[in-house]
Subunit: 393 residues, 2 copies
């Protein structure tokens, strides 16, 4: 007898891991919209709106701003392979897994990799970057703004200044910052910036926002070699996203619908209010976790509001705690990645999920689980500490 | 005053171009399903079902069968860049735009490109392939099964036999054939086969089904160099789609939901019935078009049921006819690509759209438009000719 495949009916989840975050119901409904063709004039209008709204969330006037047809990782690859020609020197600032991934892509692109390293859980020191820029000719300085593997928010302005002072392009990963904390592409002079959709934009994964400053775009035009990826070659992709609408590949129509709706929600809320909301709920969550007796991985001034990394208490079974949260409460949080595996939990408060309701729900659930799994935590303390933050507003 | 972005409300379309096709409402509803995390055990079950269902539609037992996180063009790139190492000889059979794209990717992958060409609108002659295989050491023979730019259905079995006789892998593009006409990966000994979702599977674009035979997978294992694309590197992607669930990139969750539902619909209908349905409606459409006095581009035995290419009548304004169909009837058809631009129309009957209702709706609309745009067509003849085919069944 043939196997039966049942109707799709996944269990409900509160997604408080490193992403995806929960998607606003408005975005989910937008995805149920019947398709237009990828060359339909009506779809072209939607593409233009997506570009405009991306310019808004990136805080940029960059003409070359569009979403690539893949997840944030595809946008990382697009950013790097379009910028790098064989032999180009690329300085990558590494203090987490996603910068390691950049290094891998630099090498696959036949770039000359130069690394600046910092301990995972700390940011990059601009002085180290400067030291290298003074002695080596570097085409691109690449950095992760919000390291999803550690929860560090990297200050960018000083390194941006240094990069430009030494004639380099500044390439920035904003996958976990865009829409949750300030990302000011023009004010901070960022040249090539990409992101994902499933973090603080609260949109399903599947597209990767990407923007090039005039200098970044000029570097594309100046290439002597073809981009190694056909699919992500901006020289072609831009002709489709531009008024020319020259066919390159079939855009993921439904993902464009969802991105437009998610960006429209950001636009309606306003970026300032949204950043403030992320900050407040982050502070409340952290206050609750610390009251419980848990310790943040990251020093206070570098903490990323959208991704909160907390040390797992000594002797606590990582997998069992996360498993119980998932099975008993339907709550997903992230474990550590790479060298932080088994050492931290990563708690995302992104976009739609950055609310007091979410923070309360999570704190009481975690406390209930840790009562038996980590007897050292202080019961009854988390919620009052969070409420005190909300009372201050 | 800030610009207002209105609620998404695209006009209704009957998508009879080269894809996307209209999506079954069941698939649209599946896309409105709240997200699971990409490492959630419940999502892992969905991934396994997608793999099983892909094995069914590909008619294969291939263990390495999965959808890549991009459109069909990303799957083309994935197939080629994973198979090719610098210096490898790749024979590409070219008789349309999509094979030209393969050539471009081969060169970007530093493969040694060898071409066999046939006129656009005709298939590749196996004897030409054999002549090259006899004189050159070729690692991969690559071909398009269903040329979306011409509407030719390429017979595969003879070329497959020749490729294997000469120790080459056989790589096949089934973007516009999978789910619409027979694609028998195991029976025909196809080694590396990819497809898209937005054609005969009637799923929104955004994922690219891909399968490797044991010999194809062995070629991946035998690589001495890293795949040039990090995002599409099957050595890593497969570890996530396998039971290991090793994190690579965040899968496009909603696209997986939609693909599962679209494949479930194919599975419920059954491939044989589906192929038959595509064939019958294609014959009815062609009978109607020919009765009207229009001429197919492709010889009868090589016609692709899912994409019908028809010559534009002498003196007819291509853009105006397509524009009127779109504006007055909400019907999209495709124009010619590349060297066939302005010479043909491409009429897709794919998946959900391969129905008598669609064929009738289109024929009467086209006839109404051509009455004024191409007075040479015979009014009142198309529908009876199509009905005669349906009457025969």
């Amino acid at each position: 007898m043939p196997k039966a495949y049942r109707e799709l009916n996944p269990p409900a989840r509160l997604l408080l891991g490193p992403g995806p975050s929960n998607v606003d119901p408005r975005v989910l409904r937008a995805m149920a919209t019947p398709l237009l063709g990828h060359l339909d004039p009506e779809f072209a209008k939607i593409m233009d709106e997506v570009k405009e709204l991306l310019q808004y969330v990136f805080q940029t006037q960059n003409y070359l701003t569009l979403p690539v047809s893949g997840t944030g990782s595809a946008a990382m690859e697009a950013a790097l392979v379009n910028a790098i020609e064989p032999g180009d020197s690329v300085l990558v600032c590494v203090c987490g897994l996603f910068a390691e991934r950049m290094c891998d892509i630099v090498e696959r692109s036949q770039g000359k990799l130069i690394r600046v390293d910092a301990e995972w859980g700390t940011p990059i020191d601009p002085q180290q970057v400067e030291a290298i820029l003074k002695t080596s000719k570097v085409k691109i300085v690449a950095i992760v703004h919000a390291e999803t593997s550690t929860g560090v928010l990297q200050p960018l302005e000083e390194i941006s200044r240094l990069a430009h002072e030494h004639g380099a392009l500044f390439l920035v990963d904003t996958v976990t910052s865009l829409g949750g904390v300030p990302v000011k592409v023009d004010d901070w002079h960022l040249d090539i910036v990409y992101s994902g959709t499933q973090k603080c934009l609260s949109c399903p994964p599947g597209m990767g926002p990407l923007t090039f400053s005039p200098a970044g775009a000029k570097a594309l035009d100046a290439r002597k070699t073809k981009v190694q990826s056909w699919y992500l070659d901006m020289a072609m992709v831009r002709r489709y996203w531009d008024q020319e609408r020259f066919y390159h590949h079939t855009a993921p129509i439904t993902n464009c619908y969802s991105l437009r709706e998610a960006l429209r929600i950001v636009y309606e809320e306003g970026l300032e209010a949204r950043w403030q909301r992320h900050k407040l709920n982050h502070l409340a969550l952290m206050a609750g976790l610390q009251a419980m007796g848990l310790h943040p991985l990251v020093e206070e001034r570098y903490r990323l509001p959208s991704l909160n990394s907390i040390r797992i208490p000594e002797g606590t079974n990582d997998a069992r705690v996360r498993g119980r949260l998932l099975q008993e409460y339907g709550i997903e949080i992230g474990g550590g990645l790479g060298k932080l595996k088994g050492k931290i939990w990563r708690i995302g408060l992104m976009g739609y999920n950055a609310t007091p309701q979410t923070v309360r729900t999570f704190l009481v659930a975690l406390e209930a689980v840790l009562r038996s799994e980590a007897p050292s935590v202080n019961p009854g303390t988390a919620l009052p500490a969070a409420e005190a933050i909300y009372a201050q507003g």
